[in-house]
Symmetry: C2
Subunit: 264 residues, 2 copies
């Protein structure tokens, strides 16, 4: 039974998840794209419903992925091209959109036995694209987790999923309040490095080889005082030009890869 | 004489510059925002026309900037809030939009006597946000120029101006063909470092202290063979996660700051 109308309740159920209020109410969100769904599936995220449109498939592995996601209990529905395109968030849809369940990890679940913590803490990032890019870089640098504090953009925004190219599902994610996170880091003796233009120390000049949590703040204002006061070290990125700051995702990546460089 | 209608020819003249075809035909583009216009003005770019709406000003320096831009010969026009907002590309317009003239630099104009070349070469970047972020990082790292090759996104796209936070006007920019650029780099003995996942060498492990041009390719496919074949060195960024690449602007920034680190 193919879905061929935007009046179909299954379509409506998915479409409303573009709104954050609806996502939060139903604890469900959209995962679009083969690569993204593959990473969600492999990362153990529950994909509850899967819509597909073979006319739009770009490769030949889509049916295998659908089968594997079905095996885990997902309901699957074929959609006609017109309706699928309406549900898609992309310029070039690839024929797969799933509905995933919110998955919560506690801060403690970010710790892995025998693995030195290498965490990113984001305070109130505004733009979904930036949060997504931070996940992508955290994945690439081998970070052990991302803590989203005092969220502004929710990590389940379709643009986060897209900008993360699915790494939202491969890097352990926890959401927590700022004070809770600060207390938890302190209790677990994980040094907090705050990135701020007001620091004296350049990020190259500090030892980043041990357990570490790197904190970055909002696009406009950076980290709030609460974070700066309780940081173990404050570091800056040297700025040689006219602008006074870097894009927040870019700045985060520089810190992450300085950890990679020093730990080799 | 305040502009109060979208039928006003001055409004129409500006509005059509959202289209690339119109920009290229008239060799003019839009520069929105106080910070962006300040940097354009300070960077010596010609701002030909300036539209302003005092009701939207966020600070108190706007009138001084308008005066300084007027002094250089710009025509200025006040716009009512409704019409200005229609012309604005932003969620929160700040009351200033200018029309700038395309400015072309030859490759040779990127060279400065006594300054070691530190160039970024982009091949066919697709997303304006990425190109803008590359400018922002090039400015921050003290790069001496950006060469936009075989352009896909034109650097005068409003999203490039915005994502660059005006650093499009502070970092010397040249546009050139790929082969022309390769020949020019060779003739000037500027070693070309190509960033590609297929390299053996990690970017930390190569000497980046001399004259240098860092080349990065499209979001989807990376650098084309032409660049890889003629590169003096190929380097990769180590990837520890599930994803196989970083965002292109992020990757570029890592290279730029490795140069900064090594040159200190």
């Amino acid at each position: 039974m193919m879905i061929t109308s935007v009046q179909n309740p299954k379509f409506k159920q998915a479409f409303r998840l573009f709104k954050r209020k609806e996502r939060d109410m139903h604890q469900r969100f959209l995962i679009e794209g083969y690569r993204e769904l593959l990473r969600a599936h492999e990362g153990g995220w529950e994909v509850e419903t899967l819509y597909y449109c073979p006319d739009l498939f770009l490769g030949t592995n889509e049916f295998l992925l659908i089968k594997n996601i079905q095996k885990k209990g997902a309901s699957t529905f074929e959609m006609c091209k017109k309706v699928f395109t309406r549900l898609s968030y992309r310029d070039r849809p690839d024929g797969l959109i799933g509905i995933g369940k919110y998955t919560f990890r506690s801060l403690n679940q970010l710790l892995r036995k025998g693995v030195s913590p290498f965490l990113v803490v984001t305070e109130a990032i505004e733009k979904p694209g930036n949060l997504g890019t931070i996940f992508r870089s955290a994945d690439a640098a081998g970070a052990t987790g991302v803590i989203v504090c005092d969220k502004c953009t929710d990590p389940y925004n379709p643009n986060v999923v897209r900008a993360s190219v699915g790494t939202l599902f491969t890097v352990p994610l926890a959401e927590a309040g700022g004070s809770e996170t600060l207390d938890w880091l302190q209790a677990h003796k994980i040094p907090l490095i705050a990135t701020t233009p007001g620091a004296d120390l350049e990020y190259f000049d500090t030892d980043l080889t041990g357990p570490i949590a790197i904190a970055v703040g909002t696009e406009q204002l950076g980290l709030t005082d609460k974070w700066l006061t309780r940081a173990d070290k404050k570091v800056k990125i040297p700025m040689s030009g006219r602008a006074d700051s870097l894009n927040v995702a870019t700045a985060t990546t520089l810190l992450l890869y300085e950890v990679v460089r020093q730990r080799r």
